[in-house]
Chain length 137, copies 2
Amino acid sequence: MAKTRSTRQRRAVLEELLRAEGTHPTAAELCRRLRRHLPRLGLATVYRNLERLAHASIIQRLEWSGRPCRYDGTPEPHAHVRCLRCGRLEDVPGLDAAPLLRAAKAAKQYEVTGMQLEFLGLCPRCRHRRRRGRADH
Amino acid sequence: MAKTRSTRQRRAVLEELLRAEGTHPTAAELCRRLRRHLPRLGLATVYRNLERLAHASIIQRLEWSGRPCRYDGTPEPHAHVRCLRCGRLEDVPGLDAAPLLRAAKAAKQYEVTGMQLEFLGLCPRCRHRRRRGRADH
DNA sequence: ATAATTGCAAAACATTTGCGGGCAT
DNA sequence: ATGCCCGCAAATGTTTTGCAATTAT
């Protein structure tokens, strides 16, 4: 594995993600925000740094086919709800993930390193106005 | 919503998925298998039918960015483990999903219709030979 | 000085969509 | 006869990769 360097871009990506607490931004959203201070920042750079941070278990990458990944600044696994209509992603409080991880480790001979617990449904807004909402949050 | 018809392709897709019990095939894998009997079957047709079946809660679509979706012939949510190296996807027995769904419904004002509980790690094979495995299972 | 990292463009990849023709109802 | 569905090809949208230039060590 290559030796890691501390660059302005790498620091900025992590800082911006931590600042976005609970927002679960996509790579493109982070890039757009960061360009205010780093106008030449490339989207590929954001992706590369997020990948590295996720691999080091400093952040979490929340996957969903067809729509862009969203990123969570905390490494501890926890539950999320995703709106099937507008794509909004929120934390679900009060659900302890630790016992689930323990159960999974006991059940299979996998080396379990993480988990993703995601509920799917309609957010309050989309429940009421039953039309396609915007996907940017 | 359009009225649904029973075509040879639609029946074949569901049958093949049910026959693959526990295999969690991708759309491309299903298509390849089905072409033995339906040589002209298009991948888009497989995708369209899987989407329809998943939307009707007859099957489940298991999402993961960057790698193809895998499909599960049972509609009941249950836990899976995924190997980060070779992409293998297996069921995790002995984990009841019902109480999680109940907790999520109580915690948020979402209309929760489904869930995905996925553990990530290294499968037994990849744990031992620490090199990149194949992704076709 | 060295090699990791960047920005940009192009590639790769899974999935969706448009369309003319075919088939279930 | 109607219009849903198919196969094919092209488009879409996200993420990755190649490469020359830059920058941290």
